[in-house]
């Protein structure tokens, strides 16, 4: 698709200005005079970080922005086949929605109605727009589910959303979207919540459907590296403005804007491991980014082993029948050694058991077998009282920086609580001083102490979570998908922070992630997990260079390739 972009324009946004009303402030200017063209039969990628206005743009096209709070400049135009969508209302608008313009979203699970079967939710659209009878719509729904590659479609059509996996749910969303042959499909971060292997499948599916049906796709993502393989045009947004727009080849081979260059650079690469990942600010300052050289990783023979895990196992009981029980083995016989000042990466897809490993080590789950030797003592066999002394030394940072900080606590309370619990610092003043130093260490200003978590962005909250762990001066830090919910640019900052802290305090990390590029960047050793078992284990460079198992190879093949030089890897 990359070469033969047709010149006809399907949708063009002219001078779009969107403001949001605020309680006691000037309206927030979310979109600043946006101009954007989507050609017929082409894929346009809209790329930017959280708050760049990319989702607002897509919602404005569909008129899904909350009416009460939104102010759209009267001079703004969104022309769809020559008609200004901003002037279309009521029944006319509803005829366009779902029929000519369809949309899929980031969270397929919550985007589907939980109380209706997936079949019903496709049938609803078909009956509404294509005016089919219920039985004809049901037949067509089945064809659509086959087309989007849902396994076992005859059975799954009667399933409820929660009975499907994330990838399957997104396929259903796509089936709903393409049901009425839309001219434009808006995909708003459709793969961000999915595993890397599933992401590849969904991207392939969208690219295939785009080519087959000759529709246009507006693909919205925070990850510029993702779109090189299938987009025709790329538009880069920041702070409500378009920074750069051009053909995919130009954007990847010859980016003009410093911000575009920064976005391309801040994603960890499989081929190299810089001492520090470049961040946006490096590119925005005069002089640009200067590489500081590469880092060598791997365990050394004289490494001191901090944590020695042997044959770790965890199973859950599932009730069956009248009094019966069945065992589900979440983790089976996992062994590894973690060295001081080094990082062990654990990779695997959802359900591989990688998170359970982390949770059993800090005893948030009770292990059903195995040992975890810390200084020669088995953490898993200790009494709760004995373990208390070790809690401080092994800490865990969770994935969701929004949910894992208490919203009713100020940052100072969040940081002081664990110190009080473990008797660190003699009095409140001393603890406050330590909290201040830690905030400074993770790059947050001292005035943050009196603020509440909701006043911070996702990346900042994850810094607070890291600072909270550091209050206890831990020796082992378990990072459970700690950067997965963050934008690529913010992810780079947090990864740099973790690296700095490791260098400074000789921390050992157990880094759990589904993102292989991130794990490669930060890990000395890597452990690949699948279905609760260890598939492969070894020095990270060795595993990535020469994976022994087919499962590892499959994971590696799913990593987005970025720009492949004009040979479309997909479609």
């Amino acid at each position: 698709m990359n070469q033969q972009v047709q010149q006809d324009t399907l949708l063009s946004i002219r001078n779009l200005n969107v403001r949001f009303k605020q309680e006691d402030a000037e309206p927030f200017h979310a979109l600043k005079s946006i101009n954007l063209d989507i050609p017929k039969n082409a894929t346009v990628a809209l790329v930017g970080e959280s708050g760049s206005g990319k989702s607002v743009t897509s919602m404005a096209i569909m008129q899904l922005l909350p009416q009460m709070q939104t102010l759209i400049d009267p001079a703004s135009q969104i022309l769809f086949e020559g008609r200004n969508l901003l002037d279309v209302h009521g029944a006319e608008l509803r005829r366009l929605r779902g029929k000519d313009i369809a949309m899929i979203f980031q969270e397929p699970m919550s985007s589907l109605n939980p109380v209706f079967t997936v079949g019903d939710q496709i049938v609803e659209t078909l009956m509404l727009h294509a005016k089919l009878s219920r039985s004809a719509a049901a037949k067509r729904a089945l064809e659509l589910l086959i087309e989007v590659g849902l396994p076992d479609p005859e059975k799954k059509i009667k399933a409820y959303p929660h009975e499907l996996s994330g990838g399957q749910q997104q396929r259903v969303m796509i089936a709903i979207a393409i049901a009425c042959e839309p001219k434009l499909l808006i995909a708003d971060e459709p793969t961000t919540a999915l595993d890397v292997t599933i992401q590849k499948q969904i991207l392939e599916l969208i690219a295939k459907l785009q080519a087959k049906r000759g529709m246009s796709v507006l693909f919205i993502t925070h990850d510029l590296g993702l779109v090189g393989e299938f987009a025709d045009k790329v538009v880069v947004m920041r702070h409500g403005e378009i920074r750069e727009a051009g053909d995919v080849q130009q954007i990847f081979e010859n980016p003009q804007n410093a911000y575009t260059k920064a976005l391309l650079a801040c994603r960890p690469q499989l081929e190299q491991r810089p001492l520090r990942l470049p961040v946006i600010d490096d590119f925005m300052k005069p002089g640009g980014f200067v590489s500081a050289g590469e880092r060598q990783r791997g365990y050394q023979a004289d490494d001191e082993i901090v944590l020695d895990v042997q044959g770790l196992a965890k199973s859950f009981d599932i009730r069956q029948g009248l009094f019966g029980k069945k065992q589900f083995h979440a983790v089976k016989d996992v062994s590894f050694k973690l060295a001081r000042g080094k990082t062990l990466g654990i990779v695997g897809e959802s359900g591989s058991g990688k998170t359970t490993v982390g949770l059993t080590l800090v005893r948030l789950h009770q292990a059903t077998g195995g040992k975890a030797l810390f200084e020669g003592k088995d953490l898993l066999a200790m009494s709760p009282k004995e373990f208390h002394a070790y809690k401080r030394r092994i800490q865990i940072i969770f994935q969701n920086p929004y949910a894992s900080l208490n919203p009713r606590f100020t940052v100072e309370q969040i940081l002081a609580e664990p110190m009080m619990l473990h008797g660190i610092g003699n009095n409140a003043a001393e603890r406050q001083k330590m909290a201040q130093e830690l905030l400074d260490r993770v790059g947050l200003p001292a005035r943050s102490l009196v603020k509440y978590p909701h006043e911070f962005s996702g990346g900042q909250r994850q810094r607070i979570a890291i600072a909270r762990c550091l209050t206890m001066k831990p020796e082992v830090l378990i990072c459970d998908e700690s950067v997965s919910a963050l934008d690529v640019s913010v992810q780079a900052q947090v990864l740099n922070l973790l690296q700095d802290l490791q260098d400074e305090f000789k921390l050992s990390y157990l880094f759990i992630s589904h993102d292989l590029a991130v794990v490669k960047h930060i890990s000395d050793q890597v452990l690949v997990m699948n279905k609760g078992e260890v598939v492969e284990q070894g020095d990270s460079d060795a595993i990535y260079r020469q994976p022994k198992e087919s499962y590892t190879r499959r994971l590696l093949d799913s990593i987005p390739q970025g720009w492949t030089g004009g040979t479309p890897a997909l479609a």
Binding site: G98, A102, V115
Partner: protein, 312 residues
């Protein structure tokens, strides 16, 4: 499903036993001696012993408890100590009027509260929402006694729209003649909190992603609300309603007293005042049974309306 029901029913046995033990201990330790109340002014050692023998109070504690167990198993609680009527007759005649009032009140409450809650949730922070919120708060803040006295004086006595109080033998006649005024008074108190409560369920659902999907499909706001949002918002409504069902059996004491309705509310107060152990035992056991059965029923209905629920 079948295994689940069997397991839940089996769990009821120890629960019920616990309830019985608690009632028995509470009554025998703290309840006072009913024979003293029954003997009245002509208190002699002989009459006291007679009454005690009659009531079975001369038997040992364990024997008395065994009799209680037998009563629960046969659901025959003997005769009232104060009126000598069979307990089953008393409850049988009292439960009808109570259920007629509380049941019809619940139905009307739901019919008004759910649509109103959905409407104000849809127009949240708008003028309608504010007006309804203010009305609810005012209605909640006034005591039920004020409504009853004002209602009986103005609506019944002055305007003659309703009877002031009373009850007849015909259920139909009661429903359209005697029930409306007490029901109205009850609704004045219950609607406010219910509308506010259900409103929050609807607002929570309206914030969900599937609402955005439904709109993106091109569905009208009416279909979005009545099909997609309503079904989800009803899930917590069903929970709260099912939890309240057992209490319908006890009746509405204040309303029954003021409107001379011969319901359970009065019977309960009378029984407690007279230390009428058989009636208290019967009512407590029936309420406990009803709570357990309705809880099980609530879980089964849950499964029906929310496919995500797993019965384990």
């Amino acid at each position: 499903m079948f295994a689940y029901i069997v397991r839940r029913v089996l769990q009821m046995i120890p629960t019920l036993f616990g309830v019985m033990l608690l009632v028995f201990v509470l009554f025998n330790v703290f309840g006072g001696d009913p024979s003293l109340v029954l003997a009245g002014k002509h208190l002699t050692a002989e009459s006291l012993a007679n009454i005690r023998a009659q009531l079975g109070l001369d038997k040992s504690q364990s024997a008395q408890f065994l009799i209680f167990v037998k009563q629960v198993l046969t659901l025959d609680f003997g005769t009232s100590w104060s009126t000598q009527q069979p307990v089953s007759d008393i409850i049988g005649s009292r439960i009808g009027p109570s259920l007629l009032l509380t049941g019809s009140m619940l139905v009307v409450d739901l019919l008004i509260a759910i649509p109103l809650a959905a409407t104000v949730a849809y127009f949240r922070r708008g003028l309608t929402d504010r007006i309804v919120t203010i009305c609810c708060t005012i209605a909640m803040s006034v005591s039920a006694l004020v409504y009853i006295i004002a209602g009986q004086y103005w609506l019944a006595y002055k305007f003659g729209w309703f009877p002031v109080s009373g009850w007849s033998a015909s259920a139909w006649h009661n429903l359209w003649y005697y029930v409306p005024l007490p029901m109205l008074m009850g609704l004045m108190v219950s609607l406010g909190p219910d509308i506010r409560f259900y409103r929050s369920f609807f607002i929570e659902e309206l914030g969900n992603d599937y609402v955005r999907t439904a709109r993106a499909k091109g569905l009208s706001e009416r279909v979005v609300m009545l099909k997609h949002v309503l079904r989800n918002a009803l899930i917590p409504v069903v929970t709260t309603v099912m939890m309240s069902l057992p209490y319908l059996l006890i009746g509405a004491l204040v309303l029954e007293t003021f409107f001379s309705i011969p319901g359970m509310g009065n019977a309960v107060v009378l029984a407690v005042n007279n230390s009428d152990f058989p009636i208290i035992k019967a009512i407590t056991v029936y309420i406990a049974l009803a709570t357990m059965v309705f809880n099980l029923l609530a879980d089964l209905i849950y499964k029906l309306i929310d496919p995500r629920v797993q019965l384990t």
